[in-house]
Symmetry: C2
Subunit: 183 residues, 2 copies
């Protein structure tokens, strides 16, 4: 929090990512700009380029971070003995608590979808998700169904399409997930 501005920022990469999260949370992924972020952080307009090469590179890093956070959250709930409903609840909780990450993660047209760090994090999250329904009949289909349910609820909630209900979104998903995936 030094008022002076040294030539080297210290951790510009982290600062830009945080600023991006803030900007996306406010104005959506479309309303974010490299120069705008540079201004927020207090560096010159081409500062971020050195860390992310591209605008798409920035969003790639954000998406990869998001998938990692999601995988961590899912792994933590299975480690705590959570069942499918808790897994779904964790998914939705992640989506509403990290809306900016979540919105970028599922917009592959915005980033470099073949980035190795990203695909690794994504596969990790996918594995955690699939592991929750492994003991069911036709796990392939059950996996898709469960994922669709929680993902659809999360996106609808985040886009404001469900905003009439002022209930807690995590409680809601627990309610109807419980009535569909009878454990």
């Amino acid at each position: 929090m030094t008022t002076e501005r040294p030539y080297h920022h210290g951790d510009l990469r982290r600062a830009v990512l945080d600023a991006a999260v803030e900007a996306i949370t406010e104005h959506g992924p479309a309303g974010v700009g490299l120069r705008d972020l540079a201004r927020r952080v207090g560096v010159s307009h081409a500062g971020p380029v050195h860390h992310f090469k591209d605008k798409a590179g920035l969003l790639t890093a954000l998406a990869a971070e998001g998938f990692t956070l999601l995988a961590d959250a899912l792994d933590a709930t299975v480690a705590a003995g959570g069942d499918i409903i808790e897994l779904g609840a964790a998914y939705v909780r992640f989506a509403v608590e990290h809306r900016a990450h979540f919105e970028v993660m599922f917009r592959p047209d915005l980033y470099h979808a073949d980035d190795p760090a990203l695909v690794e994090a994504r596969d990790r999250a996918g594995a955690a998700l699939a592991g929750g329904v492994a003991d069911r009949p036709d796990p392939e289909l059950a996996s898709v169904a469960a994922w669709s349910l929680v993902h659809g609820f999360a996106t609808l909630w985040n886009t404001g399409a469900l905003s009439r209900a002022d209930r807690d979104p995590v409680a809601m998903v627990r309610a109807f997930a419980g009535s569909m995936f009878l454990t």
Copy 2:
């Protein structure tokens, strides 16, 4: 299909909307530009502005058209005596057949979400969707659950997250929707 180019295009609005659908289908909503569309259609760079005022205005028109098409499709299936499963199948079929419209519709940060024509079309689609589960216990919750399921599947399918399975998406949603919403 005249090779000459008269000063007045004839139906520029329709042509720009069609070009936008094509461009979005190829490159996603982020990769569309007013000037690019004008070039595709063969008019000068500010031609479309007169019909849509804004870039957001263009996407507003696209979203409104999408909601109207969706409402029509849903109304048609209930008129044909379709149950909830058929309603969900119609939703998914719309999403995959009109991917460009669908992707814009659920990105309110890209358009003017308070446009009267748009909110009317959206409410019409919402009513058609809610009507399908009106006869169930706790229809409020069932509506959200059913919508989440089909919407999540549609978005995951369209983003390519589910592309491993080369099965027909409409058949898939019928399969697991049937196992969850036992009629």
